[in-house]
C-alpha cells in the first residue's frame, strides 16, 4: 500500500505544482511529506524519553506550501481569503488529475476571487473539462458565460424551488443575461 501511495503522491505533487503555475503565475507550490507529530516514547516509569522524530504513530502526513509571486513561503494561514480559495482549488485539481471523479460540484468556490482570478479558475475548468464533468454554482457573471448548459433555479412566493435549463451555444455566450434565464 505504501508503494502505491508513494507513486500517487509523486503524481499529485507534480500536478499541484503545475496547477499552481496557472492559478499563481510566478508563484510556487509544493507538497511535502511531514513526519507525524513524533510520538513521545515514555519509558516504564512514565518519564518521557527524547522524542524520536522518525517513528511517529502513523504514516507521514502531507503539508501544502504555496507562495504567491514575490512573497516568501507562506504558511497557509497567512494567505488572503482569495489566495486560500485558489490554493484549495489547486489541491482539489491536483488530486482530480491523479484520480478523476465522474463529476464535481463546486458551490460558489469563486465567491472570494477577483476578476483576474475568476478567469484563471475558469481557464483551469476549461482545460480539464475532458477529465471530469463540472457542475458549478455561482453568482459571478464571467462564470455563467463559461457554461455549456445553464440551469436557473427560481423560487416564487411559495417557498418552492423550480428549475429551468437553457443550452448556451458557444457562440452566443457573450449575449447572455442572467436575469432572463
Amino acid at each position: 500500500i505504501t508503494e502505491r501511495f508513494d507513486a500517487t503522491f509523486v503524481e499529485v505533487e507534480r500536478n499541484f505544482a503545475q496547477v499552481i503555475d496557472t492559478l499563481f503565475p510566478g508563484g510556487r507550490g509544493r507538497l511535502r511529506l511531514v513526519e507525524p507529530p513524533a510520538a513521545v516514547l515514555v519509558d516504564d516509569d512514565g518519564v518521557a524519553d527524547e522524542p524520536t522524530p522518525a517513528i511517529g504513530p502513523g504514516e507521514p502526513g502531507v503539508e501544502l506550501e504555496v507562495s504567491p509571486a514575490g512573497k516568501q513561503i507562506t504558511r497557509l494561514a497567512m494567505l488572503s481569503g482569495g489566495e486560500k480559495a485558489l490554493a484549495a482549488i489547486a489541491f482539489l485539481f491536483a488530486i482530480m488529475l491523479a484520480r478523476p471523479c465522474p463529476f464535481y460540484v463546486l458551490d460558489e468556490v469563486d465567491a472570494a476571487l477577483d476578476d483576474t482570478n475568476v478567469e484563471r479558475f475558469l481557464s483551469l475548468v476549461d482545460r480539464y473539462r475532458e477529465h471530469a464533468q463540472f457542475i458549478v454554482i455561482t453568482h459571478q457573471k464571467r462564470t455563467m458565460e463559461a457554461a455549456d448548459v445553464l440551469y436557473g433555479v427560481t423560487m416564487a412566493n411559495d417557498g418552492i424551488s423550480k428549475v429551468v435549463s437553457r443550452r448556451l451555444p458557444r457562440d452566443r455566450r457573450e449575449a447572455f443575461d442572467p436575469a432572463v434565464v
Binding site: I1, G58, A88, L106, Q133
Partner: protein, 165 residues
C-alpha cells in the same frame, strides 16, 4: 462516466418533483439567494448516503423533508435519485446507466436503492467507491467550505491521496 439525471421530490425546498438533465462538460447553476441552488448539492450528498448534519445542513434527519411554506403543507416523503451514465462500463455489469436513490418517509426509516432495488447503505457506499465517488475524493465542495481541504490536518490530506491511489 458522468452524472446524467438528478430527480428531487419532497426534498428541502423541492416540494414539487424536479428533474435536471446534465451533460458532460461544464454545467452552471444560477439563481437568486435562497432559491434552492445549494439544496441541489445537498440532494446529491444525501443520495450519496451522507449522514453528516454539517454536509446536509440539517439538525435532525427529518429536516430534509419539505417543511411547508405559507402556501403549502409540509411533505411527508422525500426522494432523490441520481442517474450516472455508464457507457464507459466503469460500473461493470453491462448497464448503460446506474441509478442511486434514497427515500425517507416521515417517522420511518431511510431507504437506499441501487438500480431501483432496495439495498443496504453499505452497498451504496461500495458502489460509489467503485465509481470513483469515495467520500475522501471531495467530489462535492459545499458553499463557504472550499478552504476545508486546506485546513485539514496533514494526516487527513494523506487520506485524500491514499483514496486516490
Amino acid at each position: 462516466m458522468h452524472l446524467k439525471t438528478l430527480r428531487l421530490r419532497g426534498f428541502k425546498s423541492f416540494a414539487e418533483p424536479v428533474e435536471l438533465h446534465f451533460e458532460p462538460g461544464v454545467s452552471v447553476i444560477v439563481g437568486p439567494n435562497g432559491s434552492g441552488k445549494s439544496n441541489v448539492a445537498d440532494g446529491l450528498q444525501w443520495a450519496m448516503a451522507s449522514l453528516s448534519p454539517t454536509e446536509l445542513r440539517t439538525q435532525v434527519a427529518a429536516d430534509v423533508l419539505f417543511g411547508g411554506s405559507v402556501r403549502r403543507q409540509a411533505s411527508g416523503f422525500a426522494e432523490v435519485e441520481m442517474v450516472l451514465d455508464n457507457e464507459d462500463g466503469r460500473f461493470g455489469s453491462g448497464r448503460p446507466e446506474v441509478s442511486v436513490m434514497r427515500r425517507l418517509r416521515r417517522d420511518a426509516d431511510t431507504e437506499y436503492l441501487l438500480n431501483r432495488v432496495p439495498v443496504r447503505r453499505l452497498d451504496v457506499q461500495e458502489a460509489l467507491a467503485d465509481a470513483g465517488l469515495g467520500r475522501e475524493l471531495h467530489a462535492i465542495v459545499s458553499q463557504g467550505r472550499v478552504d476545508e481541504i486546506l485546513l485539514s490536518r496533514p494526516d487527513d490530506r494523506r487520506g485524500f491521496i491514499e483514496e486516490a491511489a
